[in-house]
């Protein structure tokens, strides 16, 4: 009797473990790991990337292009404090583009959860047959190889010094003078968006935030939002930044007017780094969407860890009709071009006449 009870408990435990394995996608994972089809090979690779199982992931690659594991890991996991180092692969979608007996192309949408929110990336991956299994051809990363050199950096820096007195009427310094040079409220399918440009008209740097209040017909506020990260907050003298303020769920017919407020603060700032935006072009991406592409070149000597691209799009009359923004996964190494792309909505793409790109950057303090 005692033996039967032990056997029963053991069988029950095994059954529960098996049920848990199936429930957690073990069957699917096993099928993916088998890599007996191109899709299974890609899914298995992505599952290993998701689990940071780098050895296993590297083993699933086709090595005919001489890709090194450290380069593969560096591209996926990021380096130099880039945005990718603060990201994790949250999910992915895979669908076939082309297939034959020995070669297949699959399109993958990576969904990264990052320090700045959810980010999507689309790539086409080639898969080749290797005996009974399929291997993913991961393009060999082409990291910039900047020759060793000494780059003098002597850009300006502004500091705010002195005691800030609370005595009324004592000497003080005014906040920087900034001006909202354009504002446009547009309706999107799911929101109202207030966008435009702001300029620092002063001779000192400004930290700027823009807020907008939608007012109803009776003058009462309908909603209030600020520009959050869709603006370059730190503006040097005479610098212009686009801004975008989203009001999800609002409709333009509910709005009589918009009240705009610019909030400038006097802050310490540096004129370094200078970032060139090269070869800006409007193109189609792999999904057929219209995007503004180009590359960023950090002209300073310090690594820019996280860069954000803000683009204002103008119609033929020079009015701002849309503001897009996008983060760059890679850190900006001095003198090395890093590609970027920001989406342009289809209706904006047809009306767009010109654009202006601004780069927002974050650099971690040096030890």
């Amino acid at each position: 009797m005692k033996f039967v009870l032990v056997l029963l408990i053991a069988l029950l435990t095994v059954g529960l473990v098996a049920a848990g394995w199936v429930q957690s996608g073990g069957m699917k994972l096993r099928a993916e790991r088998a890599a007996s089809t191109p899709e299974e090979a890609v899914r298995a690779l992505l599952a290993d990337i998701q689990a940071h199982n780098w050895d296993q992931a590297y083993a699933r690659l086709d090595h005919s292009n001489d890709i090194q594991q450290q380069d593969f890991v560096r591209e996926i996991a990021g380096t130099d404090g880039s945005l990718r180092t603060y990201s994790a692969l949250q999910g992915f979608d895979v669908w076939p583009v082309h297939a034959d007996a020995s070669h297949s192309t699959l399109r993958v949408r990576f969904n990264w959860s990052s320090a700045v929110g959810s980010l999507d990336e689309v790539r086409d991956l080639s898969v080749v047959r290797d005996g009974n299994t399929w291997k993913v051809v991961w393009p060999k990363p082409n990291f910039a190889n900047v020759p060793l050199q000494v780059l003098p950096v002597n850009y300006l820096r502004w500091d705010v010094i002195g005691r800030r007195s609370d005595d009324w009427g004592s000497a003080s310094v005014d906040s920087p003078k900034v001006r909202i040079i354009s504002m446009n409220a547009v309706e999107r399918p799911d929101s109202v968006v207030v966008l435009g440009e702001v300029e620092n008209e002063d001779t000192v740097p400004a930290y700027v935030n823009i807020s907008a209040t939608l007012l109803k017909q009776d003058g009462s506020p309908l909603a209030q939002q600020d520009s959050f990260d869709a603006i370059a907050h730190s503006l040097l003298p005479k610098q212009v930044s686009p801004y975008r303020i989203d009001f999800p769920g609002a409709r333009l017919n509910q709005v009589k007017s918009v009240r705009m407020d610019a909030h400038p603060l006097l802050v310490p700032a540096s004129a370094d780094p200078v970032i060139t935006v090269e070869n800006q072009n409007v193109n189609k991406d792999a999904l057929g969407r219209t995007v503004l592409k180009g590359s960023l070149v950090n002209q300073s000597g310090q690594i820019v860890n996280i860069a954000q691209v803000l683009a204002a799009f103008y119609d033929t009359s020079g009015k701002v009709i849309w503001v897009s923004d996008g983060y760059v996964d890679d850190a900006l190494i001095p003198q090395a071009p890093v590609p970027f792309a920001v989406d342009i909505p289809p209706d904006v793409a047809t009306r767009m006449h010109d654009y202006h790109v601004v780069v927002n950057h974050y650099t971690a303090p040096r030890a």
Binding site: T203, K238, A271, V274, T276, E278, Q280
Partner: protein, 287 residues
């Protein structure tokens, strides 16, 4: 809490006095200067209250002695209520405490930075007060001395009206620190305004071709009055060629802004600073 109740009680007592005041009237001065001690003659015993705008005094009074009020108890100008309660009832009188001689200046100068050649852009306001921070409403002469490096000091004398003297001027054509000092007798309050260059004027760049790139440099960037724009001001260079548009926002350094672009075919380069547009340069091919 206890202090508040005490104040409220004193005020209520003062307002209720006419209902039961039967005692002889208090012999108080009609006006007193802030901070000045004085005495009130009194016969008999009782309790004396002095209720002022920011202070309440309570003291016991002995027979045959004057009620001495210290200067610190009347340091705030305004209307005071003197109340004396004895065995025969309460009596009250009003004392007006006037501000003392002008001795202090509070000086507000706006703005702290101003572009050159801007009319009526600078305004200063001085508030005249005595040593106890009471506003002196009597007219007083305030001198505003304006000095810019390399220029003679100019002075504007303004008579204060109800304690306030003010002036308004335009900024000078030359940039630099404008020191403005408000003076009242020996008391001076200095402030500094930074007069800064205005918008760029006559922006012009030149190009120096290199093996693979062209280096662009502006002439010294100045406003229309000839003042150099401050270093750090952003200048935007834009190159348009077959590869697309390339832009760089670069700060002025030592009066000039520089940029470098790779040019491999026909290209068109322009420059701008704020609202000012500069010249344009076209390349037919490799520099």
């Amino acid at each position: 809490m206890g202090r508040t109740i005490f104040h409220l009680s004193a005020v209520l007592l003062a307002s209720a006095l006419p209902l039961f005041a039967q005692a002889p009237a208090l012999q108080v001065p009609a006006t007193v200067t802030a901070g000045q001690s004085f005495a009130i003659p009194r016969n008999g015993r009782g309790t004396f209250y002095l209720v002022g705008p920011s202070h309440v005094l309570k003291q016991n009074v002995d027979a045959g002695r004057e009620i001495a009020i210290a200067g610190r108890d009347v340091s705030t100008s305004g209307t005071y209520q003197a109340i004396l309660c004895g065995s025969e009832g309460c009596t009250s009188a009003t004392i007006q405490v006037l501000s003392a001689a002008p001795e202090r200046l509070t000086f507000l100068l706006h703005p702290s930075r101003v572009p050159v050649n801007t009319p009526n852009a600078v305004n200063g306001t001085a508030i005249v007060s005595d040593r106890f921070h009471n506003t002196v409403v009597a007219p007083a002469k305030v001198d505003f001395r304006l000095s810019l490096a390399g220029e003679e000091i100019s002075t504007r004398s303004v008579q204060s009206v109800r304690g306030i003297a003010w002036f308004e001027i335009g900024s000078r054509p030359k940039q630099g620190s404008l020191q403005v000092t408000a003076a009242l007798g020996d008391t001076t309050e200095p402030r500094v305004i930074q007069q800064v260059a205005s918008e760029a004027c006559g922006l012009r760049m030149s190009a120096t071709p290199g093996p693979h790139a062209v280096t662009l440099q502006t002439d010294p960037i100045r406003d229309c009055a000839g003042n150099p724009l401050p270093d750090g001001t952003i200048v935007s260079f834009t190159k348009t060629d077959a590869a697309g548009k390339s832009t760089v926002d670069t700060p002025i350094k030592k009066d000039r802004a520089t940029a470098k672009f790779e040019v491999s075919g026909p290209a068109h380069i322009s420059v701008a600073c704020g609202e000012a547009l500069g010249n344009e340069i076209s390349f037919a091919g490799r520099p």
